[in-house]
């Protein structure tokens, strides 16, 4: 589905990553160094920020949310929606968003729940929150939080298979937080697509490690995602000179190279952060903006084309304007909250 909102603005973006950094060359001790180097070359991932045992996705989401509230001087009593998108919740129930609602001290007059999505979190999340905000008064604010902890530090106790190492070397952990507000006027165009036929392409059965069908994911990214880019541009007559920057899900280098190539995207307009952060799931498209904020700063506002794609299969596109002063630097955190643990 696709559409346009004329009254929704992204008023702030923050990103939090774990302070622990893992260099992918460390895996040369566990796997053929030749293969390690090859994977680094192909995926473009040199280093990743990873969670240690005790740090959870909710810790990162909390850090990003607090950072956003402080930087934007958000009056927390005005926040009427708080949605967390994660695939690494604290509990089977309730939604981890309630735990964050408590920790952030939000009012009872607030809609709170989790959504289960990965790399398309931003696109689906913004559309969902924008729709919810339609019924609210102008200047109502919403917090949209995205967090995953797929990037984990090597556990010396564990025996790693080659597949597990390949997986480990790709993923980083990160959370991002967005302040969305209903405003008098601002355009936000969106299109969201899904294909349940690919539900097993990226899947994690309860109690098992996540698995990914590499060729199928590659086919999906190259065929469906690139096709959608053109379709979305045609729908809303979005010309090349109307886009300042593209932010694609940082799936892996080979996929990004192919998308840019097939869609004739000017390479200087494509933002990248995969080298230092890896694939951070739903946070990658916004982490990408925070990492590259110095590049964006010379302009007061930028028109962004943002596309997340992955597990579901689910993929989407957003075209909107964001003030560059609302994109904050990436913060690192080693904090973890343990009082709810049993």
């Amino acid at each position: 589905m696709h559409g346009r909102y004329d009254n929704i603005k992204i008023q702030g973006i923050t990103a939090a990553v774990p302070s622990t950094v893992e260099d992918n060359m460390e895996y040369a001790d566990l796997m053929d160094p030749r293969r390690v180097k090859k994977q680094i070359k192909l995926t473009g991932v040199k280093r990743r920020h990873v969670v240690k045992k005790e740090q959870r996705a909710s810790d990162l989401a909390y850090a990003a949310a607090v950072n956003l509230i402080e930087n934007k001087r958000v009056d927390i009593h005005k926040v009427k929606i708080c949605i967390l998108i994660t695939q690494a919740p604290n509990y089977q129930l309730p939604s981890t968003a309630f735990f964050l609602h408590k920790r952030l001290g939000l009012d009872k007059d607030c809609l709170v729940y989790d959504m289960n999505l990965g790399c398309s979190s931003f696109n689906v999340g913004v559309q969902t929150v924008s729709a919810l905000l339609q019924a609210c008064d102008v200047h109502t604010q919403a917090l949209l939080l995205m967090s995953d902890s797929s990037g984990r530090a090597i556990d010396p106790e564990k025996n790693y298979t080659e597949d597990m190492i390949t997986h480990n070397m790709l993923f980083g952990s990160a959370a991002t937080a967005i302040l969305l507000e209903k405003v008098e006027h601002n355009d936000l165009y969106f299109m969201n697509m899904s294909d349940g036929n690919g539900f097993q392409a990226i899947i994690k059965y309860v109690g098992n490690p996540a698995s990914m069908d590499g060729p199928e994911v590659f086919r999906f990214a190259i065929n469906d995602v690139t096709e959608g880019i053109q379709q979305f541009k045609n729908l809303y007559n979005i010309q090349e000179d109307m886009i300042d920057y593209y932010s694609f899900h940082q799936a892996q280098g080979l996929i990004l190279d192919n998308i840019v190539d097939l869609c004739n995207i000017p390479p200087e307009k494509e933002l990248r952060s995969i080298e230092e952060y890896g694939n951070t799931s739903g946070s990658s498209v916004l982490l990408n903006l925070c990492v590259n904020r110095d590049l964006l700063q010379p302009k007061d506002t930028c028109r962004f084309f943002i596309s997340g794609f992955g597990v579901g299969l689910s993929w989407g596109y957003i075209y909107t304007t964001i003030d560059t002063c609302d994109i904050f630097p990436v913060m690192e955190t080693g904090d973890h909250y343990d009082e709810d643990k049993i």
């Binding site: 053929d32 030749r34 293969r35 090859k38 994977q39 192909l42 390949t166 069908d213 590499g214 060729p215 199928e216 590659f218 086919r219 190259i222 065929n223 080979l254 190279d257 192919n258 190539d261």
Partner: protein, 72 residues
């Protein structure tokens, strides 16, 4: 597509020196024919001849000759 070019693509995908493989090389016996090389080959084929190999196509390739036959 001549077979020399296809062999070059395979060598490129597997990061092998030129002339390392021939038509009757069994891919499965090469350590380099791993999941990363398969993705690389998919990308090369897509770029050069705009064809998308599937996971099934890739698993059906036993020898280099199979890849040549498939792409020709």
């Amino acid at each position: 597509m001549d077979e020399k070019t296809i062999i070059e693509w395979l060598e490129d995908a597997m990061d092998l020196d030129e002339g390392t493989i021939s038509n009757d090389t069994v891919l499965e016996e090469l350590e380099e024919w791993d999941s990363l090389s398969r993705l690389s080959l998919m990308a090369i084929v897509k770029k050069k001849v705009n064809r998308m190999l599937t996971g099934n196509d890739l698993s059906s390739f036993v020898t280099v000759q199979d890849v040549i036959d498939f792409l020709r």
